[in-house]
């Protein structure tokens, strides 16, 4: 298993200067959408309640009036029928009598006399609801709504108490149902319209309400993007004005702090580099005149020279890392020809076998040449220090990624230490035992930072050929999108 560090897919606070404020909770709806939705739901509820109430009331009103009218006519007709009927009347006499009764459009009548029925052209006794017939058998008047041949009808039954006869009026309610159906469609349409209006209104209101928040967002983005002097204008709304005040106060403190840090880093950098320049130049003069010195002085000069070299590297690496920490590191990308680049980087360390993939004479990568060179030479340096020197450099090209692996023939890195060796000032157990170690302890940390800045990653693993040794792999995206 590889002890992987500096992966490109983990959030890197160094290479991504704008922090990600996304809410991890599963609440994908934004504030604006939620406000619009609330308005829409509110509009829907109100319009549904209103439409429902309208429908129910209208229905009751229409049917009640129709029912009472029908009942009145039925009662009067039953009375007249009762008056005209004689005890010896038969079913044959009925049509003549029935013709004299009041007729109303949409009302049909059926009459029972003994066991006989006077049907209508459309209805006969079979169509009448059984419950009502039973009720009339008890000589009680009644009415019932019933579905006859698919249409809603009201059936009014009145027993003619003086005879063994019943009078039935069947009222067609289809036109009422039609009216109610139309009304239902209109109300449904109106509800949808009202809901849409409410949603649009909600969107408008939320946009107006959130406009100041959008300004806050733009200002925050501007600050994150480096325009530290961005401020919000005073707001007319007192609540928002307090927000603007706090925001501006935060921005001012942030600006002050960043500028102070930058000034400090610049001062430190200058204060450290200046004496080192003097030291290096002076030691250079002594080195040029080395043979004039006594043996003891020469030994002292060697110590001075070596430690000055190491101290210089430490300072330069530290300044570089602090530049990364401050987010000030920027890539200077150009087309780098991998073969030429690696040959140039390994020049002066002696021959190291370089394994390129087939047909890769012109393999190019967009990279910051200086940083990539430092990355490779830090890996070579590390191999030199802890692995007895690099045994080979292997380049692999798998489409989206380019991998450069530096292998050594040392003891390898135990799995438990593979992440830790990339930490600042940490040295593996093998390294810790060594005397005269001239590393700065920052090389591998810089390797990670350099790889991260290229959106790549670094890890260490075993050598694939099974021999003892470590294999440091840097993986870089073969194609970075930034422009030259």
């Amino acid at each position: 298993m590889a002890g992987e560090v500096g992966s490109g897919d983990e959030p890197s606070e160094l290479s991504v200067p704008v922090p990600d404020h996304e809410d991890p909770r599963p609440a994908p709806l934004g504030l604006r959408a939620r406000i619009s939705l609330s308005f829409a739901v509110g509009g829907l509820l109100v319009s549904v309640v209103l439409a429902g109430a309208t429908l129910v009331l209208t229905r009751r009103q229409l049917i009640d009036s129709r029912e009472s009218a029908a009942a009145a006519v039925a009662v009067s007709n039953a009375t007249r029928l009762s008056n005209q009927l004689t005890h010896d009347a038969t079913i044959e006499d009925l049509p003549a009598i029935a013709d004299s009764l009041t007729k109303i459009e949409g009302i049909q009548r059926l009459i029972r006399l003994g066991d006989s029925w006077l049907p209508t052209p459309e209805l006969d006794s079979e169509d009448l609801p059984r419950l009502l017939l039973d009720q009339l058998a008890q000589r009680e008047a009644g009415q019932q709504r019933s579905s006859l041949s698919g249409q809603t009808h009201l059936v009014v039954g009145i027993p003619l108490t003086a005879f063994d006869a019943d009078y039935f009026a069947v009222v067609d309610l289809a036109d009422v149902e039609d009216t109610l159906g139309n009304l239902q469609i209109v109300l449904f349409g109106a509800s949808i319209f009202a809901t849409l209006i409410a949603a649009v209104f909600g969107a408008w209101v939320s946009q107006r309400t959130l406009r100041p928040l959008r300004r806050v967002r733009s200002a925050a983005e501007a600050i994150a993007g480096g325009r530290l002097d961005t401020r919000l204008e005073p707001q007319s709304d007192p609540d928002l004005d307090r927000l603007a005040d706090s925001f501006n106060e935060m921005a001012r403190a942030l600006e002050e702090r960043i500028l102070r840090d930058a000034r400090f880093a610049s001062d430190v950098s200058h204060e450290l580099r200046s004496p080192l320049t003097t030291l290096k130049a002076s030691v250079g003069v002594l080195e040029a005149r080395r043979e004039e010195l006594s043996d003891r002085s020469q030994t002292a000069l060697t110590l001075l020279s070596d430690d000055l070299e190491r101290f210089t590297r430490l300072v330069v690496d530290l300044l570089e890392i602090s530049g990364y920490d401050a987010g000030a590191a920027a890539l200077d990308l150009s087309e780098v020809q991998v073969l030429q680049f690696l040959s140039a980087t390994t020049r002066g360390i002696g021959p190291i076998p370089l394994h390129m993939p087939p047909h890769s004479e012109n393999l190019m990568i967009r990279a910051d040449k200086r940083r990539l060179a430092r990355l490779i030479s830090n890996l070579l340096d590390n191999a030199d220090r802890y692995g007895g020197g690099a045994t080979s450099i292997v380049v692999e090209n798998d489409g989206p990624n380019l991998r450069i692996a530096v292998e050594d023939g040392g003891p390898g890195i135990p799995e438990a230490e593979r992440a830790a060796i990339f930490e600042r000032f940490s040295r593996g157990s093998a390294g810790g035992r060594r005397g005269g170690d001239s590393g700065t302890g920052l090389g591998l940390s810089l390797v990670i930072e350099d790889a991260r800045l290229h959106k790549g990653r670094v890890w260490v693993e075993e050598r694939p050929d099974g021999l003892s040794g470590a294999r440091f792999v840097v993986e870089l995206p073969a194609d970075t999108e930034d422009e030259l």
Partner: protein, 226 residues
């Protein structure tokens, strides 16, 4: 006669140590501690190379560089105390030929000065006299004319143009040019080339934004177009 080097550096210790290094190499060194003093010294007796620290009291290193450029095409090395890309590019745009970051290796300083003083022309200049359109290059005389009028190029700008002119229409990579003009290896700083090409264009191109002669070939480098 030994070459004359002017050091502009406000830190007395660095100034002294660098003077010792350069005297060791056989150069005659003049030290000044400010830009104003440097200009007073330079105007009457120009040096062969000028070494300018960017952070100076009074007028800063960039301004000293610009003012010296108005007087002379002398090779200038900027010394920065920061590895800041802005500083480096600004220094080169102010007219510096090369830069060094503190703390620099004294051997590197000597090598840089030697490279800048190299008087020899790039080998085998195929075109001692080259005319493209309005541009006229007389490599042996060291002069360049545009539309018949002589333009003043710095030593490095001239060498860059001569290198490109050694094979017109051939694309030179930034690394090729770094090696030929600055004596840097493959790992040299490509910004040196980019800024010098920009400076060259402002001097020889009729419209530097839409170059006629020195053309950028994306991802490849630069060429001199006939």
């Amino acid at each position: 006669m030994s070459k004359n080097i002017l050091i502009v550096e406000d830190d007395e210790r660095i100034r002294t140590a660098v003077r010792l290094v350069l005297e060791e190499e056989g150069y005659a060194v003049v030290e000044t501690e400010s830009g104003e003093a440097a200009l007073e010294v330079f105007a009457p007796s120009p040096s062969d190379v000028v070494l300018i620290d960017i952070m100076l009291p009074g007028i800063d290193g960039f301004e000293v560089c610009r003012r010296i450029r108005r007087l002379s095409e002398v090779p200038i090395i900027m010394v920065t105390a920061r590895d800041d890309s802005h500083d480096i590019v600004a220094g080169l745009e102010a007219g510096a030929d090369d830069y060094l970051s503190k703390p620099f290796d004294p051997k590197v300083l000597s090598a840089r000065i030697r490279a800048l003083l190299r008087r020899s022309r790039p080998s085998e200049t195929a075109h001692a006299h080259l005319v493209i359109d309005q541009l006229e290059l007389l490599a042996d005389e060291g002069t360049v004319r545009v539309a018949g009028k002589q333009v003043h190029l710095t030593h490095t700008e001239f060498r860059l143009l001569v290198e490109l002119a050694s094979d017109p229409n051939k694309v030179f990579s930034r690394e090729d040019l770094l090696e030929a003009v600055w004596d840097y290896g493959y790992l040299g700083d490509g910004r040196l080339v980019d800024v010098h090409v920009r400076r060259l264009r402002t001097k020889i191109e009729p419209d530097p934004a839409n170059p006629r002669y020195v053309i950028t070939v994306r991802g490849m480098g630069y060429k001199l177009q006939t």
